[in-house]
Symmetry: C2
């Protein structure tokens, strides 16, 4: 009967061991893949050139090289490998448009949906994106295409109050929520494809 007790002990310990392994595996997987971040603006003014054009610490400028909301946004964008879908009411910031053009030049499939009223305003970068060869579509309505979201590689959503303007980044109170939760990303992907089709230039009514 001590032999049976020993066996009972061994089996209980094995079961607990397996359970612990399962918990650790789940924990690790979650830690590796779950992305949830909220950025607030105005951002601190920091140098963003190292990530865009030169090696870190090699730009030689006198601005701060600390982390900032702008810097984190640009780093997320630069992590794009396959596709970048942008649906933006207003896009006037030079550093963000440089980032998008750079991604396009790297072979990322960039698509842009813009608002017809705001894309024509002074300072809009939509013309520069088009000249670089990036396809842009827009609504035909006096109502606003007021979304401000981006989807990276069909898996990471960036959405919030933030227009991609210098005023929004450096002066306003703004938020940008970043997640790879499929239940939240999927509706935005579907919305992008729906608008992309609806705003197909071959369907414009002049």
């Amino acid at each position: 009967s001590t032999r049976i007790l020993k066996l009972v002990g061994i089996f209980i310990l094995s079961a607990l061991g397996l359970e612990l392994m399962a918990v650790l595996l789940r924990y690790n997987r979650k830690k590796r893949t779950k992305l949830q971040e909220v950025l607030f603006f105005p951002s601190r003014v920091t140098c963003v050139y190292p990530s865009l054009y030169v090696e870190s610490g090699k730009c030689g400028c006198k601005r701060s090289h600390a982390d900032s909301s702008i810097m984190r946004l640009i780093r997320h964008l630069l992590s794009t490998r396959q596709s970048l879908d942008l649906c933006l009411f207003s896009f006037t910031d030079t550093e963000l448009s440089s980032t998008v053009v750079l991604l396009h030049q790297r072979g990322v499939r960039v698509r842009v949906i813009a608002d017809s009223n705001y894309m024509a305003l002074n300072g809009s970068k939509i013309g520069i994106l088009r000249k670089a060869g990036i396809p842009v579509r827009h609504d035909q309505s006096r109502a606003y295409m007021h979304h401000k979201f981006a989807v990276i590689d069909k898996t990471v959503l960036l959405t919030g109050s933030l227009n991609w303007t210098s005023q929004a980044l450096l002066e306003n109170r703004e938020n940008l929520l970043i997640t790879n939760d499929e239940a939240l990303v999927k509706p935005f992907l579907d919305q992008f494809e729906e608008l992309w089709e609806e705003y197909d230039p071959t369907k414009y009514n002049f």
Copy 2:
């Protein structure tokens, strides 16, 4: 030795049984509490009065009583029990301001943060909220307090491109993300408290 084999069998089955129960419990808890929804606008035009003023189907109007994005937004708001924290760039819609005043009259602790530029414009409901006794605070800057988010009972976040205006609800392309994921709600709660303190009227510089 058959007796030992039997015992081994019993313990393996018990371990599997416990594991199964644990999985089912986890599944049930997730299903019950996880809230993730994305609303898109423009909303269909539907009657919202049943949820606000009369029993369902008793308003007698000829508008559609189907579900719509506006209706879902109002239903979420009406589910508030304790507190409603609103941080809104622009608030001009009558049905939404009626909903907020109703919650205040029910004893919900409502707080509103507004943008100093937009709260003074024609059609803003900020004056009506203040007259009803709801505390309102605002920035003192020419830059925009451009957030458009709400937190219900400190647990449910509603955030997106949507200002609380009739044009946004019924004409523009807009999004509103709704979640009770603590990792996303907490930063917005902190941001609200930070702005609420910063915009304390006793700290205004005239």
